[in-house]
């Protein structure tokens, strides 16, 4: 097994056409070169501190802890990052790398728009032009983020094929990259894709685990017993898990979208899928017996993805992490609970991690410590929430707004 090739046990790798290979070789080389460079590290930290606002707070969830009556719960509030989620961290890392490689343009795929927003943001800040691919269906569902990306100067191009969602945006972005990699960098948005993306994004994101270590040592004098994170592609999970991998006393739990049911197309539980090789990497995928990718669903747009980062698949395989899933209903309940008890409105993605904590904490002794990764803030989900909660007043507001526009 050659780590340098991006394998994690049998997972990972770089399964791409030759036309992409050189680009990834160049990227890999530039990356390993950059991380040896103190100045690069310094610049990365500079932007994390002065632009995204790191470190993000680790909040003791006193009310939730009391309410659940078990383990102590801490919330790592990644929603406090600039643009409202953890995504900006690897965006800054990759954008600085792209600068080093003298690229002029950043390409990104986006599902819900969070990664696109973060990419558009770093593009503006670091002087790149920016193209974001987004499934046509997602554009129709997530227009507010499209609007914000456009304000930031990004061009948002619809992916009009496939089922016109995230995976099709990945496809379109990859093709753009293939044709334009001499001038452009493909800023992939999670710990997925071919090597070096999973390694690179995990390393950039590992600052989250570093912060948690320091913060929890200060608060509790010891490391946590559990860390819980939601998983779409796995960047926020790997970010908070990575620096704890060697600390076997910290159990790591990755939570997927249980969705509406276990039926194909009604969830995004990639860990329950089978091993495949898609989008350039080997991992668990939701696919049929022919290897065709299946439809997925999640209430959280950022988790509506049929694959999962290869390192997570590996860690699951060797038993270092536990994989679990929670249903839409549990997510909504957890969302409501944490809003009212802790004054934190989590992204629906992050509410999956909260839902797991809500189930786990009461089963644990009071001296146990759980850290939940709140990967993003929830204001972005207001349209989905108002829909689920059937908020008539919100609908009326929209009607009135539209009437004024006519």
């Amino acid at each position: 097994m050659n780590k340098r090739k991006g394998h994690f046990g049998k997972f990972g790798g770089r399964f791409v056409p030759e036309m992409l290979f050189s680009a990834l070789d160049e990227l890999e080389e530039a990356y390993y070169d950059a991380i040896k460079d103190k100045l690069f590290q310094k610049e990365f930290k500079y932007y994390l501190k002065t632009f995204t606002g790191r470190p993000t707070a680790l909040t003791f969830a006193g009310n939730l802890t009391e309410k659940l009556g078990g383990a102590k719960i801490y919330l790592k509030n990644e929603g406090l990052n600039h643009t409202g989620a953890h995504k900006i961290t690897h965006c800054i890392g990759q954008a600085l790398l792209a600068k080093r490689m003298k690229k002029k343009r950043l390409i990104a795929e986006t599902g819900a728009g969070q990664h696109g927003l973060a990419t558009a943001t770093v593009s503006a800040k670091l002087g790149f032009s920016c193209t974001v691919y987004m499934g046509e269906k997602d554009i129709d569902r997530q227009r507010p983020n499209v609007f914000l990306m456009e304000q930031l100067g990004a061009e948002v191009i619809p992916a009009k094929f496939g089922n016109r969602t995230l995976k099709d945006a990945v496809n379109a972005a990859t093709k753009d990259y293939i044709e334009n990699f001499s001038t452009s960098h493909y800023l992939l948005g999670s710990v997925v894709g071919p090597h070096p993306y999973p390694v690179m994004n995990r390393n950039f994101q590992s600052v989250v685990g570093d912060e948690v270590k320091k913060q929890i040592m200060k608060a509790e004098g010891r490391l946590p017993d559990y860390i819980i994170a939601c998983v779409g592609g796995g960047s926020n999970a790997m970010g908070i898990f990575y620096k704890f991998l060697n600390n076997k006393n910290t159990k790591l739990i990755a939570v997927e979208a249980g969705g509406k049911s276990e039926k194909a197309g009604e969830h995004s539980m990639s860990f329950k899928g089978t091993v495949g090789v898609v989008e350039g990497y080997k991992s668990f995928f939701l696919q049929d017996e022919d290897g065709q990718i299946q439809d997925t669903y999640s209430i959280a747009a950022g988790m509506d993805y049929p694959g999962i980062g290869p390192e997570l698949s590996y860690l699951k395989d060797i038993g270092r992490i536990e994989a679990d899933a929670v249903s839409d209903e549990e997510v909504i309940d957890a969302f409501k609970l944490i809003c009212k008890t802790e004054g934190i409105i989590p992204a629906l993605e992050s509410a999956h991690a909260v839902a797991k904590a809500v189930k786990l904490a009461p089963q644990l002794k009071k001296n146990k410590i759980i850290v939940v990764n709140i990967s993003g803030r929830g204001d972005k989900d207001i349209f989905i929430l108002a829909d689920k909660l059937k908020d008539k007043n919100f609908f009326q507001f929209l009607k009135d707004y539209l009437n004024r526009e006519n």
Binding site: P17, M19, F161
Partner: protein, 262 residues
Amino acid sequence: MNLIDKQLIKIKNENRTGLMTHVVVGFPSLDKTISIVKNMVEAGVDFVELQIPFSEPLADGPTIMGACEKALKDGVKVKDAFDAAAILSKNINVPLLFMAYYNTVFKYGTEKFCADAKKAGISGLIVPDIPFEEEENEHFIKFCKREGLKNIRVMSPSSTTERLKINSKVAEGFIYCTARQGITGSSKELDPELKSYLTNVRRYFKIPVAVGFGISNKERLNQIKPFADIAVIGSAIIDIINDSLETDLENNLTSFLRAIID
């Protein structure tokens, strides 16, 4: 002797550029796939590439993607590709190649895939997303070899010397070169650096060179001939299928190919 090798010798002896055409299995229907391929062979093509539809065709342009999507929607299965190959190989005498994405192969079981392909009369596999670097775990080349299938490597204008060298060590049959950096599909001009690219390819590969992507008419074909042992026609054929009434399809295809072949 593998049919591909035979055909390559024949072309060489005839001192002409060979022609490889492409179909998506099950597009526009399984029956039509069979009849289209037969048509192609009658028109005089030298190789036929049967693409097994995959839901995430990363290396294909919108035309082929659309065809794959349509075939999958119609319920085409991987097994159908093997069945079609079996029928065709019994009826025609030009080499058939599977074009597939690696997930299709892997999910089927690489060993079994190669064995069954052989049984169905396939002569070579074009799997663009299984680089040599993964051989250690995947044994794709090994199983191709075991079954006597040509493992056709796909190179692109962006391939560095290092990539050419690495692939030259394992390439078999012919080397498949995309004529421009980018996805399949028709475009107006041939890459101006095509010549130096293909010259470079020939420096490292001793096997014949197939050049594909973007060939839509006689004129384009002639542009390529000086550099190519085999010319590949892909999207142009799907365009014809898309633009033809069902009843005209075979006529249109035949006239297109005749015009190209002379």
